[in-house]
Symmetry: C2
């Protein structure tokens, strides 16, 4: 293989693909990028079996070929190269030479045949939507994905398309549920209900553009999904199983509804959380009386009490929450003011806006009163 | 005690003093700030016995008093307060209330009498210099201070004033020496030769301003030094003992002198260092032949060889160095091109410019040839 690539192009491709390089593995071949040059195309691939990324690099192919190169070393080498054109050559024993100006790197490569390429996925079941829309949906649900590996299903994000153009994205961890709705670009006939690992969705989110015009296509198979993001393909294994029946958990009833300024509420909760060390699991209390809420946090070292003006409908209530669950969703809502509905101090509360396409359900913490 | 302080003023004072709060201690009182209000003055103090910082806060004293407050909690509370005026009140049992707008924090304080104030230092032996000058000297020597606690003297920075207006600052660790010279603002009669802990100098450096006009005064006693930096006082214990006789280690002789572009050399060394993991302690080799230097790094995984044009006087030489020692000093030199003198592959090399006031001595690594 003989190729020429501009340093900047090479670096950008590495940064896209590197997310699929496993951090811990005992197989040296898995720590590699696969670099392939055929015809006019140069491709860089990383694959940790759950997640695979293949991306095209703009460059010149002088001689076809392929090689597997240690991802960390290649990444460090390219980063430290002068800002200029890099010439890469591989001999029959996968010894690779990278030359840029007066500097010559030798890198021991491995046989490309030992590298597992990314899953090939048929392109017949396609969903198209704006990259910005998908990026936004991921960012605004992913924090609710369970960090606990015990239930694989809870570590995944569910994508549901029931009617022809509306996509629902759901993440939950047993204490809270995050749901976002958005429109896809072209209607589809078939119902879609798949669970994609949270880690894969996180990496996909980072690869998606903020650009209003760019689109992403999802191709679905029984066991895998493929995201086509410009010149980059991302494949991910799907998580098996029927996702939780979220609709059954959400009730439209409430006995107390607060309308409150979002940033002010988040700041007050953040202050009250100050005395709470995560291991304590002590909640922040909300004493809702008429048009005022007292927000309270306390510990052996000190306490906070803060009064906040709110618009209240329904009953007074004393209720407590894990402050971080509230802060997570308040941070990703764009509305200036939110509606927060509660039923009783032991039943789920929810912050929702159907027009804006979000619903966040949060379980209160029992304070035994 | 009853005082009023603007949030921003309070936060800035905390950020100045917090560096003297010990991170690990079994004595709760040492984790505290001392807050004192007398007459028109509000002072915040932290003291870990090696380093003490006392800083004034602009504010209003409504009632005199003092209290010791947990530094981490106070710092978190003030950071999260609204951007407004904070009212702080302490009762007879050191219970402290902080009020800002509608938010009220209670914090359990401790008796101020249990807090050890900073060392009182006589102000008769004074050295005055520009804050920017001292900041610069610290930044450009401190990386050579030994990280190994075995020799206390090596963990300190030596300040020497032999003639009346020139100050020399020295740091060394057994493999290298960093020396910087600069003028103090007003001549002094007495000779000065003190060793200040590297950690204290590091914190002093952070408190010093980049402003060309501001001055800092050092007051010296037998066991302590006091830095007066505007409204902030920093005291530090001195390290006992006669500092190393650095002059004897520096020889003006050389057999090879390279004149080389500093940034290009640093980039090439940085690339060659890529294959060197710190635990390997493998050096980067320099093959000096006529007007060219080959810079080489290698490992079982790969290697780099880079040619560089230089101006050379004297003999050809094959010599090897720890690349990080070279990079540390190349980073803090301002000159575009440097002069690097070597005697033989086992004797100290030095990069110096007497006019610019620096000398960096670096021992080569023996490659057994």
């Amino acid at each position: 293989m003989k190729i020429t690539i501009e340093k900047q192009e090479f670096m950008e491709a590495i940064n896209r693909a590197v997310k699929a390089v496993p951090t811990k593995t005992t197989m040296p071949i898995m720590e590699c990028f696969l670099l392939e040059a055929y015809g006019n195309e140069i491709k860089l691939t990383a694959n940790d079996f759950e997640l695979g990324i293949e991306t095209k690099i703009c460059g010149m192919v002088l001689e076809n070929g392929s090689v597997a190169l240690n991802a960390k070393l290649l990444s460090d080498i390219i980063r430290k190269m002068p800002e200029n054109s890099i010439y890469l050559e591989t001999d029959g024993k996968w010894n690779t030479t990278l030359t840029c100006e007066k500097c010559v790197f030798h890198l021991n490569g491995q046989d490309a045949a030992a590298f597992t390429p990314i899953q090939i996925i048929a392109k017949d079941r396609a969903i198209t939507l704006k990259q910005k829309t998908l990026k936004d949906m991921i960012k605004k649900t992913i924090f609710s994905v369970s960090k606990n590996d015990k239930s694989k299903l809870m570590t995944s994000i569910n994508i549901l398309i029931n009617n022809d153009q509306c996509m629902r994205m759901t993440a939950l961890d047993g204490h809270r549920i995050a749901i976002r709705y958005a429109d896809i670009s072209t209607p589809i006939k078939e119902k879609v209900n798949v669970n994609i690992p949270g880690k894969s969705m996180d990496e996909v989110g980072k690869l998606l553009s903020e650009d209003e015009e760019e689109e992403v296509i999802l191709y679905l198979e029984d066991t895998h999904v493929l995201f086509q993001i410009g010149q980059t393909l991302v494949t991910s294994r799907l998580v098996d199983g029927d996702y939780y029946r979220v609709d059954q958990m959400i009730s439209p009833d409430w006995s107390t509804k607060l309308t409150v300024e979002r940033v002010a509420l988040a700041n007050a909760i953040d202050r009250a959380a100050l005395f709470i060390r995560t291991e304590d699991k002590k909640p922040v209390k909300f004493d809702i009386r008429d048009a005022e809420v007292s927000i309270m946090g306390d510990s052996p070292f000190g306490s906070l009490k803060e009064e906040m003006d709110v618009k209240k409908e329904g009953k007074n209530m004393l209720i407590a929450f894990n402050p971080y669950y509230l802060l997570d969703c308040l941070k990703v809502i764009d509305d200036e003011s939110i509606e927060w509905c509660m039923t009783n101090p032991k039943a789920p509360s929810y912050i929702r806006n159907d027009e804006a396409g979000y619903l966040y359900l949060i379980l209160p913490v029992n304070i035994g009163k």
